[in-house]
C-alpha cells in the first residue's frame, strides 16, 4: 500500500525523511507535479497520534519545499494507481502550487463566553425563546467573522470559515513574511476587549486552500 503525503513540484528534491511506517518517503514524478508517498505493508490507522505525526511530517517537509497536503489517511494500492491519479490531476495541482507558492495557512480561533452561556441556558426555555437566542448567537458569530475578516484583510489572500462548535474559526492564506504581523494584529484586537479570547495557530501547510477533487477534474 502507498500512503500519500503531499503534492510537490515535479522537480522537487526527494526528502531524507521517514514516514509513519518508518519507511523513507519517495517521490513519484509526473510531467507537471509529483507526489510524496511511503510504501508500507500495513495500513495506517487514523488515530489522533497518527494524525498528529502525519501533520508534523508535513510541517517539516513544508520547511524545505512547497507542497499541497493530501488528506490523511489516503492510501492507494500500487505505485501505478498513484501515477494514474497524478496524471489525472497534475495540471490542476501544478496551477495551485504556482498560485500558493510563498503562502502559509494560519487558523484564528475566537470565542466569547456569553455566547456559550446563551446556548447553555436556552434548553429548558420555550421554543420561541430558544429560536430567538439561537438567532442572536448566529448573528453574533456572523458579526465576529466579518470583524476578524476585516482585521486580517491587509495580509490574508484568502479566508475560509471553518466549522466550529463554539465561537468562530477562520483559516487565512498569508504570505510567509506577513504571519507575524497578522498574529500581532489579532493579539492587539483580543486585548482590546477582556471578554473574548483569540488564538492564532500556524503557520501550517495550506491544508484548507488546496484544489478540491471537482476542480481538479475539470
Amino acid at each position: 500500500m502507498m500512503l500519500l503525503y503531499a503534492v510537490v513540484p515535479a522537480d522537487a528534491t526527494a526528502p531524507e525523511t521517514r514516514g509513519l511506517a518508518g519507511q523513507p518517503l519517495e517521490i513519484i514524478r509526473g510531467t507537471l507535479a509529483a507526489v510524496l508517498v511511503e510504501e508500507s505493508s500495513e495500513r495506517v490507522s487514523a488515530t489522533g497520534d497518527e494524525s498528529r505525526a502525519f501533520g508534523e511530517i508535513l510541517c517539516d517537509l513544508a520547511t524545505t519545499t512547497f507542497l499541497l497536503p493530501i488528506r490523511f489517511p489516503t492510501m492507494l494500492p500500487t505505485r501505478s494507481a498513484v501515477l494514474a491519479e497524478l496524471e489525472a490531476n497534475e495540471a490542476a495541482w501544478r496551477g495551485r502550487l504556482t498560485e500558493l507558492d510563498g503562502l502559509s495557512e494560519v487558523v484564528i480561533r475566537a470565542e466569547w463566553p456569553e455566547a456559550d452561556q446563551e446556548l447553555d441556558s436556552v434548553s429548558p426555555s420555550p421554543g420561541t425563546t430558544y429560536l430567538m437566542n439561537r438567532a442572536a448567537v448566529i448573528h453574533r458569530r456572523e458579526a465576529s467573522v466579518a470583524e476578524i475578516s476585516e482585521l486580517v484583510r491587509p495580509w490574508a489572500r484568502e479566508i475560509k470559515v471553518l466549522p466550529s462548535q463554539q465561537g468562530v474559526r477562520i483559516a487565512c492564506l498569508v504570505p510567509h513574511a506577513d504571519v507575524p504581523q497578522l498574529k500581532d494584529a489579532v493579539s492587539i484586537w483580543q486585548q482590546a476587549a477582556n471578554d473574548r479570547q483569540a488564538v492564532v495557530s500556524g503557520p501550517w501547510p495550506v491544508f484548507t486552500f488546496v484544489v478540491d477533487q471537482e476542480a481538479g477534474s475539470r
Partner: protein, 69 residues
C-alpha cells in the same frame, strides 16, 4: 454576561487541535481504498472515491443536500 474573561487557552493545545483537524479535514482528496474493521478484523472493503472527513462536515453536507432537494 460574565465579567471574568474566559479561561485562557493553551497555545500549544490549540495548535495541536488545529493541526489534527486540518490533517483530517483539509488537504487534497483522491480516489482510494477504505477497509472498515472492528478490533483488527476487516469487515467491509470499499473501493470508492475516498473522502475522509470529520463527522460534523459530513452532517453539514447532508443538511445542505436536503435543503437544496
Amino acid at each position: 454576561m460574565s465579567d471574568a474573561p474566559p479561561e485562557r487557552w493553551s497555545d500549544t493545545q490549540v495548535a495541536l487541535v488545529d493541526l489534527i483537524d486540518r490533517v483530517i479535514g483539509g488537504g487534497v482528496v483522491l480516489a482510494g481504498d477504505v477497509v472498515l474493521g472492528v478490533a483488527g478484523v476487516d469487515l467491509v472493503y470499499l473501493g470508492l472515491r475516498l473522502v475522509v472527513a470529520p463527522a460534523h462536515e459530513v452532517e453539514q453536507s447532508i443538511a445542505l443536500g436536503r435543503r437544496s432537494a
